[in-house]
């Protein structure tokens, strides 16, 4: 039976050529966003602690 001329490596090649860059970009962007949000949270906590120390308030 004749087999239609076709590129048998098409799925793998597309997967390896196209997906990794987009996948990594999303992962990197997520890591960057998480890091930025963690910095904001830390600074807020530090500011709160400084205010409480300055005015003698306690964190309930």
């Amino acid at each position: 039976m004749p087999v239609r001329t076709h590129d048998p490596d098409l799925p793998r090649r597309r997967y390896e050529q196209k997906l990794p860059a987009a996948w990594k970009a999303a992962r990197d962007a997520l890591a960057k966003r998480e890091e930025a949000e963690a910095v904001v949270a830390r600074r807020k906590a530090e500011a709160d602690a400084a205010l409480m120390a300055k005015y003698g308030m306690r964190d309930n």
Partner: protein, 152 residues
């Protein structure tokens, strides 16, 4: 070619003392199983070429869609006003899909190579079907025992 099936058919008919009706049902079950396999094998060979290409295209397209989805997700993640929790969940979903697609493509490349080889060797496929029919007698025996549970 049907040595195992014929043997069992004879054993059913003679050693078990089946009624004509029971024997007819048993033989019908055997014929049906053989016919199903032959039909499946024929369809597989006829459709192999086209289905291989179609499946390849399908997975290549899925890769495109997923890569585009990642790009859209990246753009959303980079906007500071979008909810990080929602984006994290979306990333996990796409990440799972990308991993599954990778596994699927790896598995498919093995299957596709085997199917291409089969399509190029129809005589070998016929031989494999004959071997499968011989093994099918086990299934037939189970079917027949199910049909006639009072058999020892």
């Amino acid at each position: 070619m049907y040595a195992t099936v014929s043997e069992y058919r004879t054993r059913l008919a003679l050693a078990r003392g089946l009624s004509d009706d029971q024997r007819a049902k048993a033989e019908q079950a055997i014929r049906q199983a053989e016919a199903d396999d032959l039909r499946a094998g024929t369809i597989m060979l006829e459709g192999t070429s086209a289905s291989l290409a179609a499946r390849d295209e399908e997975m290549a397209n899925e890769t495109h869609l997923l890569a585009d989805a990642f790009s859209a997700l990246t753009a959303a993640i980079e906007r500071p006003d979008t909810d990080l929790g929602v984006l994290r969940d979306a990333y996990q979903e796409f990440d799972s899909r990308a991993r599954a697609l990778g596994a699927q493509i790896t598995s498919w490349s093995v299957t596709a190579a085997r199917l291409r080889e089969q399509a190029a060797n129809p005589a070998q496929v016929a031989e494999d079907l004959r071997a499968k029919w011989a093994a099918k007698s086990v299934t037939n025996r189970e079917q027949i025992l199910h049909l006639f549970p009072d058999l020892p």
